[in-house]
Symmetry: C2
Subunit: 348 residues, 2 copies
């Protein structure tokens, strides 16, 4: 039975014995997808550069390390990509430079990873594996500051930082290669994903993981402005489920999908919930730092009805449940996620 | 009097003794802007790589060659850009890889020129000339296949080829550098520009210039499908006027503007008008070549009301007038625009 004819709820069976490659597979979301795939019987190839401070962490595959293959490689290395894509049934393409802040200080590295290397991967598929399916990890960052809420996929793409621009270009490549060259591909525009295995070593990859670390260490969380800004949050297992559906169901081909949370919540309420669940931490309101205000986007929350209609996905994990699991995970494994004593970020 | 306080119709006086740099200044539109600027008393620095077959042509500055400076350089050369931007009041940023077809065969070169080099130019401004104004030559190609007509700037950016993606990213950089770093910048999304000085050496930079050459040489023009597709056309002097306004008027900062034609016209009617004005040429309907159909966008015409309201611009040259001037120009100067006998495209 072809994937197109398969009922939506059978997408999990699709992965038995499938060859699946995950770029960025030692990172937060990529490794979570790997855990799911191993449980479903897939043959998983993890590709990760393990660049320090980017998010790749060998501890993220603890428990499945004997049931996956790990190939340390950088997606910017074209001939390596040409080799690795061969024979794969599905590629979950999550390798990326994630920090908005870093992208404004070094736009070229962000461009190389988030844009140029995406061309490498897609060209590799076109030449060496044109029947593969590729699912790209997009981002809500491509929308910039919303004109209307909740944000649908019809909203203008209008990024407010270099990272958002480069991710948008990387996403567009996937759609053009789907439409022009027949490389089946789609993009998931993730909002704020949180949960176990996220990088909490430094504060340059978004605020939620950093807040979790501060709460766990009983430190002070700084909330910019009055904390009334709304965001939506997706638990990482829910995000991984969106990848699994998109990879198995051909109705996703050529599409972009918002992957958003259950309901919007204000920054200050997120922090209060987190602190109450952790039982540690405190918070204080502070002025917006100007360089952060310059690329801030105000309220944001996504309308995820397109992915619900097309792939049957919806967020399943309430924020309180997700926070409880996350706090429990880091309480057990925190030292695997803190910088080594000789790291430049160890003083944070 | 600051530019912001200046009445819109005084934008031409703004350029007297201004230092103005034009990247791609030996190309079709860039050189036309240079002719206007010289007439207005500006100090013009033309930067052009003169890459064969890209469109740069020293004959394009015939008549003003003693009143401009020409610096042969490639925008991909970062340290050169760091030097050249210094002291300029305005940069008209038109250097680009223009061919959609080429971008699908060599996406990397297109990325280097249309995306990465744009970062070089903007970073150079940020570090060495933060008070400059930059006007970027964008393209209607970023919209892809329209959902609604006429296309406004509120239409989704959804390119159908690699060139459109890379141009979109280059444009977004200009807006982010305006908003975050205060480098005043805007983008003009040009539709089909035509007129004297356009590359007609080969057929990979759009159909209108190629049709003009075929008509002039009394050859057969092939119209794909039934020729009912609608397009709008802008005469090059009108396009140049849009650049002049955008460079002088600060109301353009941070904005994108469609620069479209007077009214849409079907392909077959364009061809009939051209042939009747030239008095030479003929046409025939042919099947769509599949690789062209794959990146075709159907009907397209732009709504230019935003630039009319903000900068007072509107197209002034009817298509028949523009075609007459164009035919006259190439009849006088055709040999300057044909490939040399030893060129790979001389057999076209």
């Amino acid at each position: 039975m072809s994937p197109a004819a398969r009922p939506i709820d059978e997408y999990r069976a699709f992965y038995r014995d499938r060859r699946v490659m995950i770029t960025g597979g030692l990172g937060f979301i990529g490794s979570t997808v790997a855990h799911h795939l191993v449980a479903l019987g897939a043959k998983v190839l993890i590709v990760d550069s393990l660049i320090p401070e980017y998010g790749g962490n060998l501890f993220n595959i603890a428990g499945i390390e004997d049931r996956v293959r790990v190939n340390v490689a950088d997606v910017r290395q074209q001939s390596t990509m040409n080799y690795l894509v061969r024979g794969q049934d599905v590629i979950f393409n999550l390798a990326g430079q994630v920090s908005h802040i870093d992208s404004m200080q070094d736009p070229y590295t962000d461009l190389e990873i988030n844009t140029r290397a995406q061309l490498f991967i897609l060209e590799a598929c076109r030449r060496y594996n044109p029947s593969v399916k590729v699912v790209f990890a997009g981002t809500r960052q491509v929308y910039g500051r919303p004109d209307t809420l909740p944000v649908t996929e019809q909203h203008l793409v209008r990024p407010t930082d270099v990272n958002g621009i480069n991710k948008a270009a990387g996403e567009y490549y996937h759609l053009v290669y789907n439409n022009v060259f027949g490389i089946r591909a789609c993009s998931l525009r993730l909002t704020n994903v949180y949960g176990p295995r996220q990088l909490i070593m430094h504060n340059r990859q978004g605020f939620i993981a950093w807040f979790i670390r501060l709460a766990l260490e009983d430190r002070e969380i700084q909330i910019y402005g009055d904390g009334s800004q709304l965001r939506d949050f997706v638990y990482v297992d829910d995000a991984a489920d969106a990848f699994l559906r998109a990879g198995a169901i051909d109705g996703s081909n050529g599409e972009v999908f918002n992957v958003g949370g259950m309901e919007p919540i204000a920054h200050r309420d997120v922090v209060e919930l987190l602190i109450s669940i952790a039982g540690t931490g405190r918070y204080r309101f502070v002025e917006w730092p100007p360089e952060k205000k310059a690329i801030d986007i105000g309220d944001f929350y996504a309308d995820s009805s397109r992915i619900r209609c097309t792939l049957g996905w919806q967020p399943a994990t309430p924020l309180a449940t997700g926070f409880r699991r996350t706090v429990e995970y880091y309480r057990a494994h925190l030292h695997h996620y803190l910088p080594a004593a000789d790291s430049p970020v160890s003083a944070l």
